[in-house]
């Protein structure tokens, strides 16, 4: 299958890569760019483990062809922390026990980022709607919801 040369802008960096059209964005992020934080779980867009932000919106990267992800700002979990400094969402997840096996966590963090950028002070119901596309088999979700509410309240306290 013929390869195409494409440019992907991921976490602020432009990557020039050669990919077959059938490679999905999550495959290219993980296998070509070495960004393993985004996970493949169901591979059919139902579980949310592959969630990345595309132009600020949450998207199932297992259902996006890499060649269709050009000209967009892609943010992955690697783009949330600044070097050693964690994002407040990541800090809250740690503090409130929202991480057990950790497999859903990158997707949860990306969905949370999209939610809070759109709605900085969500209700508990709105938080649950915001993460409705992300499955977690470990925590039962409550600690994740608590984390998100804590981040939004902390931000409210600071502003």
């Amino acid at each position: 299958m013929k390869q195409e040369e494409i440019t992907l802008k991921v976490n602020g960096i432009n990557y020039l890569v050669n990919v077959e059209p059938r490679r999905t964005l999550v495959e290219v992020l993980r296998e070509t760019l070495g960004l393993m934080g985004t996970k493949v779980s169901c591979n059919e867009g139902e579980c949310g483990a592959c969630t990345v932000l595309m132009d600020g919106r949450p998207a199932a990267s297992c259902l996006v062809l890499a060649i269709d992800a050009q000209q967009q700002e892609i943010v992955t979990i690697e783009g949330m922390s600044a070097g050693e400094k964690l994002h407040p969402i990541q800090e809250a997840f740690l503090k409130h026990g929202a991480i057990q096996c950790g497999f859903c966590t990158p997707g949860m963090v990306m969905s949370t980022k999209a939610l809070l950028d759109d709605n900085p002070h969500p209700t508990a119901l709105e938080v649950r709607q915001g993460i409705s596309g992300n499955l977690c088999r470990c925590t039962g979700y409550q600690q994740i919801v608590d984390s998100v509410l804590a981040v939004s309240q902390k931000a409210a306290g600071n502003s």
Binding site: M1, E4, E20, P21, R22, R23, T24, E27, C42, N43, E44, G45, E46, G48, T51, M54, R57, P58, A59, A60, L63, V64, L65, I67, D68, S111, A114, L115, R128, Q129, G130, S132, G133, N134
Partner: protein, 295 residues
């Protein structure tokens, strides 16, 4: 069921509708349209579909436009569910459709999925279908050298089947602007709170008179309870010219339940349950639609 990587295909990115139609005509049954990818890519991963060619409509800017003028609202086929959910135009003028967008799939799917794809996939439970039928919307279908407008209520012919020809593309959905004192509601029954097909979908669009007491027009559309989305004309007729109240809504609910014909071999819900839910949710949707207009 093991979800694999995509099979090989040739990928085309026509810049115009004409170029896309030309490719469709030349490649015929070997080609499929790629819009949001949320239906076709999983199907390809499961090897249910293995088209040799994908014709991507993503590069055709004119297909994404959501617009309004004095007479009509036009939703481009490539407008995503997420874009429409955030659109003030949709929220204000087409609340029955806006309700549906909020309960479809998940945020991650709504960012990618398109209204054209939802309609052309033509599953009986498609959530945009009952609202668009209730709004008496039409689909603009373009073929090489042809253009036709098909009312949504005539578009679906069976599960995953429609009148869309192999050489046609759905370009946009056209809706006559609802007149004053109009409003609607879509209720979706699910076993969980998100990421599920409708067990039952009920859309009601009403137009009231100037006094906001009497119904002048009613359209009721049901999803997931027949091989295609269907209207409930007997229930609609019961409401026209009458004052909307609970006993009337109850009666209309019974009429809607009578005409639905849910599939008997569903693993998700029995015939009796779906019929019972149509009765209840039609009553509820009528009263909620009435309240949304008369408030």
């Amino acid at each position: 069921m093991f979800i694999r990587r995509l099979p090989k295909f040739e990928h085309h990115t026509p810049a115009t509708v004409a170029a896309a139609l030309d490719l469709l005509a030349r490649l015929g049954s070997q080609a499929r349209i790629l819009a949001g990818g949320t239906d076709i890519l999983p199907a390809m991963k499961r090897r249910e579909l293995t088209p040799g060619h994908l014709i991507s409509l993503k590069g055709i800017a004119g297909l994404k436009v959501i617009s309004v003028d004095d007479r009509e609202i036009r939703l481009g086929a490539l407008a995503t569910l997420g874009e429409m959910e955030r659109s003030q135009l949709v929220r204000q003028h087409l609340p029955v459709l806006w309700n549906a967008l909020q309960v479809m799939a998940s945020p991650q799917i709504r960012t990618l999925a398109t209204i054209g794809g939802n309609i052309c996939s033509a599953v009986p439970s498609a959530d945009t279908a009952p609202p668009l039928i209730a709004l008496q919307a039409s689909a603009k279908l373009l073929g090489t050298g042809s253009e036709r407008s098909v009312p949504l209520e005539d578009f679906f012919t069976g599960p995953k089947e429609s009148v869309l020809r192999a050489d046609e593309i759905l370009a946009e959905i056209v809706i006559t602007r609802p007149p004053a004192h109009s409003g609607g509601v879509y209720i979706k029954l699910m076993r969980r709170n998100a990421m599920e097909l409708a067990l039952v979908g009920v859309a009601v669009q009403l137009r009231l008179d100037a006094s906001l007491k009497f119904c002048e027009q009613a359209t009721i559309a049901l999803g997931a309870v027949a091989p295609t989305p269907i209207r409930a004309p007997e229930a609609e007729a019961m409401l026209v010219g009458r004052e909307i109240n609970e006993p009337l809504a109850v009666a209309a609910g019974k009429a809607a339940a009578k005409i639905c014909r849910p599939r008997s071999n569903s693993i998700r819900a029995s015939v009796e349950y779906r019929r019972s839910m149509v009765e209840i949710l039609t009553r509820r949707a009528i009263l909620e639609a009435f309240q949304s207009v008369s408030r």
